[in-house]
Symmetry: C2
Subunit: 211 residues, 2 copies
DNA sequence: ATAAAACAGTACTGTTTAGTTTACTTTGGA
DNA sequence: TCCAAAGTAAACTAAACAGTACTGTTTTAT
């Protein structure tokens, strides 16, 4: 019999967290199929029997790991501060966009974020709800925050009246995404983020398109 | 003993092609781990024994499938015609970009292309050379072709002098890539490409950034 | 202190699957 | 026509792996 969250003491909650923590590292490193329950138990420093007291199957453990990584996504939550920014002129807009682009690149090219991206894409077949969950909680939330920022900037007159928020968001995130996908996901070694100069080129070209 | 390509008659080459064809469908559908050799043999309408006459292992078969899908990439090859285009004014440029964007979206959101993307990303761990191979033969080739197009347009004076080819290419492909990733890879059902209007919005904003 | 609960370590079970073996059938060229 | 190469079908082997059983130890609460 596995335990539900509601009926657990703090000791049990801690063990569950410990298991989740080890499982997260192994799943992000090896994917669902590549991760063995022996390896997970070892990484979590827990016996295999204990693991199965807290989780009834590898599937449920994986689902819980991915749920936490998406819903509680600390990285993407940080991007929600975008909505509070509201530049008054082009100079401020450029400064905000530059800071934002750097933050997004740094976020997307973190090894853990790339691993989450990779694992999600890889295992959508086996866990059909995973794609929608990830999409709704991570990239769509980021796109939406950015769209709000653009719409607010448009009301202030610093962004052109004809610019659609969603499209403007995709045109800003898109070029950064190429670095995450091409130089992050497809790279063998550690990810190589774009230089500051490349980011400035993108922001400067982007400014011309929305103002 | 498996057979090398050089010493095979036309009959053997046909069988090899037949195996490769079935394997491609199963691998693209189920990924490397999910694809069983029984399923591959059944899909190729070949006995398992014959499969192992032509390929020594599932790994080698997978590698050969992916090699063909990337190096011989018919979809991306079609995009090389970009380099031959050379617009004389902004009106022609907009027309060319619109056609190009439609072609790229249609290419990227084909089920087979998305499956190739997904499988490549999923199995880079097991086949480290896969990422570099795919990157060099598919997206980098497309980016490069587009960069050449931009540079040619710049020489003709229809694109601004300060625009870098690689960055311009990423800013054009990037927004389209968001649709492939968010609405293609993360979608459960069939991919939903952006509407013509969305593509026009992107092209129009893009025009403002590079001219 | 001590009983009860939680846990570690490890061996075991059943299942899946890559790859092989065996026995039989088809095909194509001299 | 005939025979050797090529192929089929299905059973089999070996290894990996999810999940369980068992034994002994540590931790917590009273």
């Amino acid at each position: 019999m596995s335990l539900a969250s509601e009926e657990m003491g703090s000791r049990a909650l801690a063990k569950r967290e410990q298991i989740l923590d080890g499982a997260r590292r192994v799943f992000l490193r090896d994917g669902f199929a590549g991760a063995g329950t022996d390896a997970i138990a070892a990484e979590a420093k827990v016996s295999k029997r204990t693991l199965y007291v807290y989780y009834p199957s590898k599937e449920e453990l994986f689902a819980d790991v991915m749920r936490k990584l998406t819903i509680e996504n600390p990285q993407t939550r940080a991007l929600e501060s975008i909505e509070e920014m509201s530049p008054g002129d082009e100079w401020e807009l450029r400064r905000d966009l530059l800071e934002l682009a750097s933050k997004i690149v740094a976020t997307m090219m973190q090894p853990d974020y790339l691993a989450l991206l990779r694992t999600t894409i890889a295992d959508i077949h086996r866990f059909p709800q995973l794609g929608g969950l990830f999409r709704a909680t991570v990239p769509e939330r980021a796109l939406r925050s950015f769209a709000v920022f653009i719409e607010k900037s448009r009301e202030r007159g610093v962004v052109g009246r004809d610019v659609d928020g969603d499209t403007a968001a995709r045109m800003f995130i898109g070029p950064l995404l190429t670095y995450a996908v091409l130089d992050g996901l497809f790279a063998g070694g550690p990810p190589r983020p774009p230089t500051r100069e490349k980011i400035e080129e993108i922001v400067d070209l982007y400014m011309k398109s929305i103002t």
